[in-house]
C-alpha cells in the first residue's frame, strides 16, 4: 500500500501557501493577532473568511472598521461541525474567490479542540498542508492557550508550517514528520444487526434498508444507504471480492456500517477530506462518505482484510 503522504519529504516553502498556527489567550490577544493581518489582506484585494465566535467577531469588527464589510464571517459552529465539513467549506470558499478573480484567499478560524475529537482536528490540520498546498491560500488556525493542553500545543504546532504569537513573533516549524495518530473507529462490540456478503451495491442497500426503517429518521437512512453504496462500489472497483457488509443500529444513539474487502486498502491518508478533482469521473465516493458520516475510518485489519467503518449519529 503506497501513501500520498511522504513523511521524509522536505517541506517546500511555497510563497503562495501559508499554514499558520496562532496561539492566543482572550479576545484582546485574538484581535491583536488578527487585525493588522486582515486589514493588509483586505487592502491587497484578498478574499478573507473568518470563523470565530460572535463575541470575538464583534470585537474584531470594531477594530477593523470599514474593512470588516469586506470580510466573510461564518459562525464557527457552522463551519467546524466536523473536519470534512471544514475542509469542504474552505475549498468552496477558495474556489469561488479565485473564480471571482481574487489574487489570494485567507481563511481564519478557531479550531474546536474539545477533548473528544482532538486527534481528528489535528489530522485535519495535517491534511490542509497537503490538500491546499498548491493554492494561493493562507490559513490561520487559532488556538486558545487558556484551554489548550501543553502536549496538544506541541502537536498543533507540528501540524503547521508556522506558529505566530500575539506579539508578532513567527516561528517556522516546517510541518509534522509523520501523520498524527488517530484512534480507530471501531464498531460496537455487539454482534451486527446485519452481516452479508454482497456482489453489488444494490444488494447491500437492500440488505440494510429494511433494518433501518423503523428506528432511523428518513434523512439519516438516505445518508447511510448512500454511504454504504459508495463504499461497496469503491470496494468492487478498487478493492477485491469478497465484500462483506455489516451494520449496527443503536436506536437513539448511532448507526455504524462496515464494508470489508480483500484489497490493499485506500492509498490516500486523507481520502475523506480531499475534494475530488473536477475531472475525476466517478471518483468522489469516499469524499462523499466523509461529508455524510460523522466519522469514517479505513484500516487494514490484523487478518489482512481492508475495512472501512462509518458512523452516523442518531437523535436521542
Amino acid at each position: 500500500m503506497t501513501s500520498a503522504f511522504t513523511p521524509d519529504a522536505p517541506v517546500t516553502d511555497d510563497g503562495d501557501f501559508e499554514h499558520v498556527a496562532g496561539f492566543y489567550e482572550g479576545v484582546d490577544e485574538l484581535v491583536e493577532l488578527l487585525a493588522d493581518d486582515i486589514a493588509t489582506a483586505v487592502d491587497d484585494g484578498e478574499r478573507v473568511l473568518v470563523c470565530i465566535d460572535v463575541a470575538a467577531w464583534n470585537a474584531l469588527e470594531q477594530r477593523l472598521g470599514d474593512r470588516a464589510a469586506e470580510v466573510t464571517y461564518l459562525a464557527d459552529d457552522v463551519r467546524y461541525s466536523k473536519p470534512a465539513e471544514a475542509m469542504r467549506a474552505v475549498n468552496e470558499f477558495v474556489r469561488d474567490a479565485l473564480d471571482d478573480g481574487a489574487p489570494a484567499v485567507r481563511s481564519i478560524g478557531v479550531i474546536p479542540l474539545d477533548g473528544q475529537h482532538d486527534e481528528d482536528w489535528i489530522r485535519y490540520e495535517a491534511a490542509v498542508n497537503e490538500v491546499l498546498a498548491r493554492l494561493p491560500f493562507k490559513g490561520i488556525c487559532l488556538y486558545d492557550t487558556s484551554t489548550l493542553a501543553p502536549e496538544l500545543a506541541r502537536e498543533v504546532a507540528a501540524a503547521h508550517r508556522t506558529v505566530v504569537h500575539p506579539d508578532g513573533r513567527r516561528n517556522h516549524v516546517g510541518g509534522a514528520a509523520s501523520l498524527p495518530a488517530v484512534p480507530a473507529l471501531d464498531p460496537p462490540t455487539a454482534p451486527p444487526d446485519v452481516v452479508v456478503e454482497v456482489d453489488t451495491s444494490s444488494t447491500a442497500r437492500r440488505a440494510v434498508r429494511g433494518s433501518l426503517a423503523d428506528d432511523v429518521p428518513a434523512d439519516i437512512v438516505d445518508e447511510v444507504l448512500l454511504s454504504l453504496s459508495e463504499l461497496v462500489t469503491n470496494g468492487r472497483v478498487h478493492g477485491q471480492q469478497p465484500i462483506t457488509v455489516e451494520m449496527w443500529l443503536r436506536p437513539g444513539r448511532d448507526v455504524h456500517i462496515a464494508v470489508t474487502d480483500h484489497g490493499t486498502g485506500i492509498d490516500d491518508p486523507f481520502f475523506e477530506l480531499r475534494p475530488p478533482a473536477p475531472d475525476d469521473v466517478g471518483g468522489a465516493g469516499l469524499w462523499i462518505v466523509g461529508q455524510l458520516a460523522d466519522r469514517v475510518d479505513s484500516r487494514m485489519q490484523p487478518d489482512g482484510v481492508h475495512r472501512v467503518v462509518a458512523r452516523f449519529a442518531l437523535p436521542a
Binding site: 442497500r205 438516505d222 453504496s229 462500489t233 469521473v281 466517478g282 468522489a284 465516493g285 462523499i288
Partner: protein, 283 residues
C-alpha cells in the same frame, strides 16, 4: 408535470392499454406463452393485435394456435403477423416505422377497434448493433407518442441469453415497465419532450444509463438550443454520485440543461456535494 406509472413487470398479462413494456425471456416457449397470453388479453379488449417476430409464417401461426378464431382473425386483419422491424426482412427507417405505426393505429380506430396492441420479438434486432441503435431511437420516440395519446399498447420481448448484457439493460431501462431485477432503473418519456426515471441507478449501471440518457437527450431538441430538459425524479428511489454525474456528462455533450423535478431527500442531500454544470434541482 404529471407522473407516468412505471415499475417492475411481474406478469405480462397485467399490461393495461397504453402500457409500454419490455420482457426478457430465456426460451422460445417462455416467449410464446407470454405472447399468446398478452395477445389474448388484447383481443378481449377489442384491440387490433400485431405479432412481429422472425421465422416462417406457418411457424408463427402455429405459435398462436391457442387463440380463438385465429384464421378468421388473420383474414380480417384483427391479427397481423409481420417480421420485426430493422431486420433484413423489414429494413425500415425509424421515421418510416413511426409513420407506419401511427397509420396502423388510426386505421384500427377507424375500423372500430379500441386501439392497437403490438407484441414484438426483437432478439434478431438487438444482435445487430446498427439495428439495435435504430430500435433504441424508435423505442424512445414511440414512447413519446404513447405519452401524447397514441392508442398503442406495446410489449417488446427479447432472448436475454443471446443479447449483449449492457444492451439488454439499456433496452429494458428505456421502457416504463420491464421484468427481471436488472436493470434497476426505467427511463421513459413524459409530457412534452421530457422524461421520468423510476427505481435505482448506481455506478454499476452507468454504461446503459448513459445510453438511455443519450437517446432521450438527443431527441429533446436541437443540440445547442440551450433546452431545459426536465427529468421527473418522483419515482427515483436511489441514485449515487456516479449516476448523477452521468446525467451531467450526457447533458453537456448534448448542450442541454437538465432540471431534476420532484427530487427526493437523498438526491437533495447529494446534489450540493457535486459541482454539476448542466444539472440543477427544481425547487
Amino acid at each position: 408535470m404529471g407522473s407516468r406509472h412505471a415499475g417492475l413487470l411481474t406478469d405480462p398479462t397485467e399490461l393495461r392499454p397504453g402500457d409500454h413494456a419490455c420482457f426478457g425471456f430465456a426460451t422460445r416457449t417462455e416467449f410464446v406463452e407470454a405472447a399468446v397470453a398478452v395477445l389474448r388479453a388484447g383481443l378481449a379488449r377489442n384491440e387490433r393485435v400485431v405479432f412481429a417476430t422472425g421465422g416462417p409464417f406457418e411457424l408463427l401461426r402455429d405459435d398462436l394456435a391457442q387463440l380463438a378464431d385465429l384464421d378468421e382473425r388473420i383474414g380480417d386483419d384483427t391479427i397481423a403477423i409481420r417480421p420485426p422491424p430493422f431486420t433484413p426482412a423489414r429494413p425500415v427507417q425509424v421515421s418510416e416505422l413511426l409513420d407506419t405505426v401511427e397509420r396502423d393505429v388510426r386505421e384500427a380506430l377507424d375500423a372500430g377497434f379500441a386501439g392497437q396492441l403490438s407484441v414484438l420479438d426483437i432478439t434478431e434486432v438487438l444482435v445487430d448493433p446498427k439495428a439495435a441503435r435504430r430500435f433504441q431511437e424508435f423505442e424512445h420516440l414511440i414512447d413519446r407518442r404513447m405519452v401524447d395519446g397514441l392508442e398503442l399498447t406495446m410489449l417488446c420481448c427479447f432472448d436475454h441469453t443471446v443479447v449483449d448484457p449492457d444492451l439488454a439493460v439499456a433496452i429494458s431501462g428505456q421502457h416504463p415497465f420491464a421484468n427481471g431485477e436488472i436493470p434497476l432503473f426505467r427511463l421513459f418519456a413524459t409530457d412534452g419532450h421530457h422524461a421520468g426515471v423510476w427505481g435505482e441507478v448506481d455506478a454499476s449501471q452507468v454504461a446503459p444509463w448513459e445510453q438511455a440518457l443519450t437517446v432521450a437527450f438527443s431527441h429533446g431538441a436541437a443540440p445547442g438550443a440551450g433546452l431545459d430538459y426536465r427529468l421527473d425524479c418522483s419515482q427515483l428511489q436511489f441514485i449515487d454520485h456516479a449516476a448523477l454525474q452521468s446525467i451531467d456528462t450526457v447533458a453537456r455533450s448534448w448542450e442541454v440543461q437538465v432540471s431534476l423535478w420532484n427530487p427526493g431527500k437523498g438526491l437533495r442531500r447529494l446534489y450540493p456535494l457535486m459541482a454539476l454544470d448542466s444539472v440543477r434541482l427544481s425547487p
